[in-house]
């Protein structure tokens, strides 16, 4: 795929929004946590527990937001598929793999491709796309 459209990223505003909200959440959580600790030192246990819980929950939310952002970022990166052409030498039986060129088809006697060993033209025996890593992982699940 030669087009640049499949490498397009998310809009910048999208990232700015997420980063701003994450920084905000982290700041508020730290504030709560700090308030909780100081209440504890003052001996005000009720206040302390509430504030510490709020602080920890806030940090949890921040982690979740960061995770979502990373996921969205990955979703924007369309997997790039490379197409390969497999050639076979009828003279000596040597096999060769190269990237697909327009005009290739299975069964074609390609005069452009000379066997690296004996120099005779080669036959295209197969054309295929390498499986993207992410998809291969999915298939590994029993």
């Amino acid at each position: 795929m030669s087009s640049n459209s499949n490498k397009k990223g998310a809009p910048t505003g999208f990232y700015l929004f997420w980063i701003a909200s994450m920084v905000g959440i982290v700041l508020i959580s730290v504030l709560f946590f700090y308030m909780g600790i100081s209440s504890l030192q003052e001996g005000n246990t009720n206040d302390a527990i509430l504030n510490i819980v709020m602080g920890v929950a806030g940090m949890g939310i921040a982690v979740k937001v960061a995770y979502d952002m990373a996921k969205a970022r990955l979703a924007y990166q369309e997997e790039h598929q490379e197409i390969f052409t497999e050639l076979y030498c009828t003279n000596c039986g040597r096999k060769m793999l190269r990237t697909f060129k327009e005009g290739d088809f299975v069964g074609k006697l390609s005069t452009d491709d000379k066997c690296p060993k004996c120099g005779s033209p080669m036959i295209i025996v197969s054309i295929f796309a390498k499986t993207p890593k992410q998809k291969a992982k999915e298939k590994a699940v029993p």
């Binding site: 290739d104 088809f105 299975v106 036959i123 197969s126 054309i127 796309a129 499986t131």
Partner: protein, 378 residues
């Protein structure tokens, strides 16, 4: 400040009745607006998906127009011609009176093939047959994308206007699957544009391997065949005529060959890609009985009828793959299964026929990127 209010609300005791009333009013309002809020969230999700679908459709259209305009017409001409065919449809025949419904469907399919082929001549007059059929199926992908976009847009507008949760929920729940299908059609355009074999091409690829360099001749509309010796049997192998995107009419071809031999055929083997279930490995080779072909009906009917008429066993070899892999560039695992399928064909022939018997082997599927002779020049 908001946070302080929140803390106070949580710390309050029963005597603080003001907070309690506030809390109850809040809950009541939420009761009324929860569904509205849910609808709004889902509508937003659909809006995002719709934007993605539009992007796919526009990109596929742009690529098609660019490609088609290389063959004798300007971009503007191609664009205006393409507008004319957008929304192309086939009306299913009446099945209330089922007599001859398949014949009528066959006629409709033939007419639509004709219509599209003539349209391609008009839109790309200088393209050769190979390129023209590839362009035609690249365009079919764009038309499918356009249709998906229209349907989702319909439910989106309907849902937004009526705020009816049923409409919205229906489409929202299907969104991930719809987007997956749309992405496959978008990627399919790329395969047809460049002439790369798709997952469905595994049948013709096996057939070509079995032909083993024999010179084939055309036996039916867009179907070629050649006779070779296989395990001491006379094997007649057919496939769609490549390397352009064609499926041909294998039903007509099989019927014609069997009839020409007065039914003197010991076995019909059909090789085709089949939909795999989730969890099944890609490119698993399985065998069964019946006509392995995924056409809307007419071809399958012809094969079943002629096999029944002469009591010829129908042996099916299927290569399991995701239905979406079937329309996009062939994956490595599928391409690598050719050797195993060839082995299975030989095993079936050895166990089901005697030396000297006549066997008919059909590699079913789209032959895009797969030629007609091993070692043939274009």
């Amino acid at each position: 400040m908001n946070q302080e209010l929140g803390i106070k609300l949580m710390q309050t005791n029963q005597s603080d009745w003001f907070s309690w009333i506030f809390f109850l009013i809040f809950i009541t309002i939420m009761q009324f607006y929860a569904s509205k809020l849910q609808a709004q969230l889902w509508i937003n999700e659909i809006r995002k998906a719709l934007a993605k679908l539009e992007e796919y459709t526009n990109d596929a259209t742009k690529k098609f127009v660019e490609e088609a305009s290389k063959y004798g017409r300007s971009k503007e001409e191609v664009e205006s011609l393409f507008k004319r065919i957008k929304g192309f449809f086939i009306i299913q025949p009446v099945t209330l009176d089922p007599f001859g419904a398949v014949k009528r469907l066959e006629h409709l399919l033939e007419s639509s093939r004709d219509h599209l082929n003539k349209f391609m001549v008009e839109i790309a007059p200088k393209a050769d047959e190979w390129k023209r059929s590839n362009l035609r199926d690249q365009m079919s992908g764009v038309l499918a994308l356009d249709m998906i976009y229209r349907i989702v847009r319909h439910y989106f507008i309907l849902g937004r206007r009526t705020q009816n949760l049923i409409y919205i929920a229906q489409i929202q729940m299907l969104l991930p699957e719809i987007l997956r299908i749309a992405k496959a059609y978008w990627k399919a355009g790329e395969a047809f544009r460049r002439g790369i074999p798709i997952g469905d091409s595994i049948g013709p690829m096996v057939a070509l391997r079995l032909m083993n360099g024999a010179e084939p001749k055309e036996v039916a509309e867009n179907i070629v065949g050649a006779e070779v010796d296989l395990e001491g049997r006379r094997a007649f192998i057919i496939k769609a005529k490549g390397p352009g995107s064609e499926v041909g009419r294998p039903g007509v071809a099989i019927e014609r060959i069997v009839e020409s031999r007065d039914g003197n055929v010991s076995l019909i083997i059909m090789i085709d890609a089949a939909a795999k279930l989730e969890g099944e490995p890609t490119a698993e080779v399985v065998e069964g009985i019946g006509a392995a072909i995924g056409d809307p009906g007419p071809e399958k009917l012809r094969i079943e009828e002629v096999a029944t008429k002469y009591k010829i066993p129908l042996h099916a070899i299927a290569i399991k793959e995701d239905p979406l892999d079937a329309i996009t560039s062939m994956r490595e695992e599928i391409a690598k299964s050719v050797d195993e399928v060839v082995e299975r064909v030989k095993m079936a022939i050895r166990s089901k026929t005697l030396p000297g018997d006549f066997v008919l082997i059909a590699g079913i599927g789209n032959t895009v990127g797969v030629g007609n002779t091993m070692g043939g020049a274009s």
